[in-house]
Symmetry: C2
Subunit: 202 residues, 2 copies
Amino acid sequence: MSRGSVFILSGPSGSGKDTVLKELFRQHPDLLFSISSITRAMREGEREGEKYHFISREEFEAMLKADELLEYNIYGGNYYGTPRKPVEAAIMAGKNMVIEVDVNGAEKIRCKLPEAVSIFIMPPSFAELKRRLVGRGTESDEQIKIRMQTALDEIRRADEYDYIIVNQDVNTAAAELFTVIDSRRLTAEKQQTIINEVLAEC
Amino acid sequence: MSRGSVFILSGPSGSGKDTVLKELFRQHPDLLFSISSITRAMREGEREGEKYHFISREEFEAMLKADELLEYNIYGGNYYGTPRKPVEAAIMAGKNMVIEVDVNGAEKIRCKLPEAVSIFIMPPSFAELKRRLVGRGTESDEQIKIRMQTALDEIRRADEYDYIIVNQDVNTAAAELFTVIDSRRLTAEKQQTIINEVLAEC
């Protein structure tokens, strides 16, 4: 059996990344999602082990010391990180795993897992990004302004990624994301087993 | 508009490469096929400009002198080559072009077009390859033996390719081939235009 692949997925706030991922996992339940370990309090509607593992600062710092995180960051005084072990287990089991992470996290994971494939989700235009951020209606003008600036900074780094998907329409974007994921199992590296098998017959 | 991509396709006799290509082009008539220039006589059932351009030795040698071939070879005293101009025109027009060529031709094209993506079509097993070659019933034991040896030599070089597709079933293989082709338009390089457009809005 050939090893699984890791797909690093990023996209600015307003790119519609979460909706695209939701559709991808609905259509392909065999894909694995990397669950982040975080130290912030659980919010309404969240569940342990769904998108996050909610752990204590002490537990997080113990993971850090044991080099059990592929990347981590601090937002608002809380730790957010990507545990290494489930990713390695997925690779060994021949499964594909998606890690959702920001551009800085992506950079760190690429260093530790050079064979990982990275994908950036883009909004179709800056006007549309603004429309989506304003449309949420849950944030102040100041908050929206900060999100816009952060989005712009991230889009400027989109060329660090292997693939770029423009999310004009969720279904198309999810299909394109799967095309990228599916194409990886056809690489010569992943297919080495079948070559060896055919040659071993002779 | 972003540039088109070139897909170098190889596979041993008995891999079912031609049937897979036929199905691919039936489903995706927008793909272009590189028509080889050859100096051998036209055979029954062949038509000028379908798979080959039938030209004279003098014309071929003039193309050689003018560096108008991406690769060429001699079989049975006849020239076979891949004209450069239609490939370059396809790239500039943003079209995808498939070039069917043997492992040696693939090596030469990779040198001249390093951005080309190469794909190798494999039979599912050596036993199946043998069955397919013998099943044709048109060749002597000696001819089959030579084809088997050539196929084996080619499969030994399969790892020179970017992608490998195992042709167990024509429809699956054609779909996988299209997945590889389709994934290329999502690479960061091809998507640079949209990044620039979004950033230009700000």
